[in-house]
Amino acid sequence: MASRKKVLLKVIILGDSGVGKTSLMNQYVNKRFSSQYKATIGADFLTKEVLVDDRMVTLQIWDTAGQERFQSLGVAFYRGADCCVLVYDTTAPNTFKSLESWRDEFLIQASPRDPDNFPFVVIGNKIDLENRAVTPKRAQAWCAAKNDLPHFECSAKEATKVDEAFVTIARAALQQEADTELYKEVPERVDLRRNDAARSNSGDCAC
């Protein structure tokens, strides 16, 4: 038990621009919300340590860094994802319709070993707004048709259900990681940063 190695789980958040991907992760990790919309600049990924069923895991949540605006997310972004979060705006039906193509895009680019059972979690954001245009029924029907994807209606602004959604995301990612662990055929990675840190500590870094 004690020898269980630290688990790092990669979660990526997809969805049309403006649906609140950055806000959701920022609310979850930093408990912050900024009401102004600004195409994502500077958001890279955020990490958070969480306890999932008595196991400490590090979630690494990757933002699109604005590259979704012109469909220029490269394949490298998708590699090694353990869970994919699909986000739409409950007040904008087009963003809900896009989920289908985001899901397809993920499956093509990330090429998970078992595409039919890869964990996706669907989030409808902005339920704090009045002008709702995607009904829960419609969203649930789509999720049910895709092998019963978990579905949450959230508000990043008011922090509604954000934590609940991410608990499900973390659990799904951990399950996925455990499944792929069986296929591990890759030798240890080299940690360039560790070596880097060792050098800076010894005081001979370039200043």
């Binding site: 621009s17 950055t22 920022n26 990790v29 930093n30 408990k31 912050r32 900024s34 009401s35 102004q36 600004k38 195409a39 994502t40 600049i41 500077g42 958001a43 890279d44 990924f45 955020l46 990490t47 958070k48 860094a65 604005g66 590259q67 605006r69 012109f70 469909q71 220029s72 490269g74 394949v75 490298a76 972004f77 590699r79 093509i108 090429s111 998970p112 070993r113 595409p115 055929e185 890759v186 030798p187 240890e188 990675r189 080299v190 360039l192 940063r193 070596n195 880097d196």
Partner: protein, 503 residues
């Protein structure tokens, strides 16, 4: 869809490695950058693709001046892909310019310095093998390999050890001008000389200067043992095509915009300066016009300036086989290897055949470029017939092959604010790409810092309307708060209240 900018500091045409490094460096310091690519994929001649994408790679080469004589065997190879499971097809990552990195090379140093390493993962290249007199053998470059090798005599071991430990301490003598003359002083046997040339300095040029030769030797020796006692090289998982995407990601994180499948349509000039560019927009008949201070472009975007193409710059062959590498590379079993568990199979392969230097990579699934049980061998040589002959020994169980010529293109005089990026070079690693980007950056953005460390992800403050132009947090501040986690730090909560706006 969002609007593309109408005016930027830099338009970068092409997403190949040199251009992507440059674009990231400019975005990093807050310059406005628009990077366009005529292809559907990142990386230009440094790209990687899976089997499904081979077709679009082929289409892109048809209008390329850099890559020519592209040939697939079998010619309609995508039809044969159906024999793989759907998920397996995506597990092939064919890297067009696959190269290992020296552990202390310029690229490795830059990745560490800029913290772009967060987007990549690396492995040590397990071994270095050379073909000498038609036999595979491990190059005894490290102390352990040297003692384990049965293919070199005791005297040779002593001489090689002497060379590896003493050569860099030698006082340069005035009578010596070439590296060959320098090698003579160590009284190496022909076999050892071949090892040094093919696999340590990666050059078989007869008149290689002493200066250049020693620089190559120094690079190898300083890299050996940095991350692994037995290897001087690192290998990026999924192949070196990932490097360009890591820099493109960094560019995006700092506000740079990249668009794929947007070909350059027209260049507008005024007094020998580019003032703006017209870019074709997919699924639209109206091109986008963008004004810029500088245009940085790959050769293929400067067609009207092409002069001539140098023939046969270097030939590349990529062979995908149905075999384990162990079956292809029949090397002696190293005595020590048995103690250290199963030996990974991926390796660097080198040879000198008929005076021509050949080098390449042989990769198995541990490289994340092939599914289990399949291998990819990439070889390159400046002489096509030699490469054709040599590569046949890897092709017995070939599923398919791809070969092409990488050429150098000479351009006529360019407008003063246009810069052209280098094409793929023959030698391993990407010193040339880093040097070019760094020199250009220092010329065009003097006084600015060259790819400083990215702040820790949790320290990046998201800009608000009031501070729309606010640059990402000063990296120096980020350094100071290095210990802070992504969670609320004092620093970020202060920033938060500063950024918060009552709604």
């Amino acid at each position: 869809m969002d609007e593309l900018p109408k005016k930027v500091d830099f338009v970068v045409c092409g997403t190949g490695l040199p251009c992507s490094i440059f674009a990231a460096a400019c975005a990093r310091i807050g310059k406005s950058v628009l990077q366009i690519d005529r292809n559907t994929f990142y990386g230009s001649e440094w790209s990687n693709f899976n089997m499904k994408e081979a077709k679009s790679w082929k289409a892109s080469c048809e209008s390329s001046k850099v890559i020519s004589n592209l040939k697939f065997t079998p010619s309609e190879c995508w039809d044969t892909f159906e024999m793989f499971l759907r998920t397996e097809q995506y597990r092939f990552n064919i890297n067009v310019d696959n190269s290992p990195l020296f552990s202390t090379g310029k690229m490795t140093e830059l990745l560490i310095q800029s913290k772009a390493t967060r987007y990549l993962s690396f492995k040590n290249v397990a071994s270095l093998k050379t073909v000498y007199e038609d036999e595979f053998m491990s190059v005894p470059a490290s102390r352990a390999d040297l003692f384990a090798s049965k293919r070199v005599t005791v005297i040779e071991k002593r001489k090689m050890m002497n060379f590896l430990t003493k050569s860099l301490q030698e006082e340069p003598s005035e009578e010596i001008s070439t590296f060959d003359q320098f090698l003579e002083r160590f009284k190496l046997t022909e076999k050892l000389k071949s090892f040094v040339k093919s696999s340590i300095i990666f050059s078989n040029t007869e008149d290689l200067s002493l200066y250049d030769g020693l620089a190559k030797l120094k690079k190898f020796i300083s890299s050996l043992g940095k991350y692994s006692a037995a290897s001087a090289f690192l290998y990026a998982s999924y192949g070196s095509g990932e490097l360009a995407q890591a820099f493109a990601r960094m560019c995006a994180v700092f506000g740079g915009i990249t668009v794929l499948e947007y070909p350059l349509k027209e260049i507008f000039l005024e007094d020998d300066l580019v003032t703006s560019l017209s870019i074709s927009v997919p699924e639209s008949s109206t091109p986008h016009k963008v004004r810029c201070d500088h245009m940085i472009a790959e050769v293929n975007y400067l067609e009207s300036y092409h002069n001539n193409t140098e023939e046969d710059f270097h030939q590349v062959i990529i062979i995908l086989t149905d075999d384990d590498l162990k079956k292809i590379i029949k090397d002696e079993k190293l005595a020590l290897a048995e103690d250290s568990g199963p030996e990974p199979d991926h390796c660097i392969i080198t040879a000198i055949v008929d005076g021509h230097h050949i080098w390449g990579l042989a990769l198995d699934s541990s490289s994340s470029t092939t599914p289990k049980g399949k291998s990819i061998v990439t070889l390159r040589c400046r002489h096509k017939p030699t490469l054709d002959k040599f590569s046949s020994k890897f092709a017995t169980d070939s599923l398919w092959q791809m070969e092409f010529t990488n050429s150098k293109v000479h351009l006529n005089d360019l407008p003063a604010n246009v810069q052209v990026s280098p094409t793929v070079q023959f030698d391993p690693d990407y010193d040339y790409a880093v040097s070019w980007a760094e020199n250009l950056f220092k010329k065009l953005c003097p006084e600015e810092e060259w790819l400083p460390p990215m702040p820790e992800p949790g320290d990046i403050i998201f800009p608000t309307d009031e501070e729309g132009e606010k640059k990402p947090e000063d990296p120096k501040d980020a350094e100071e708060s290095k210990d802070s986690t992504a969670k609320n730090t004092e620093n970020s909560s202060q920033e938060e209240s500063a950024n918060a706006k009552e709604t």
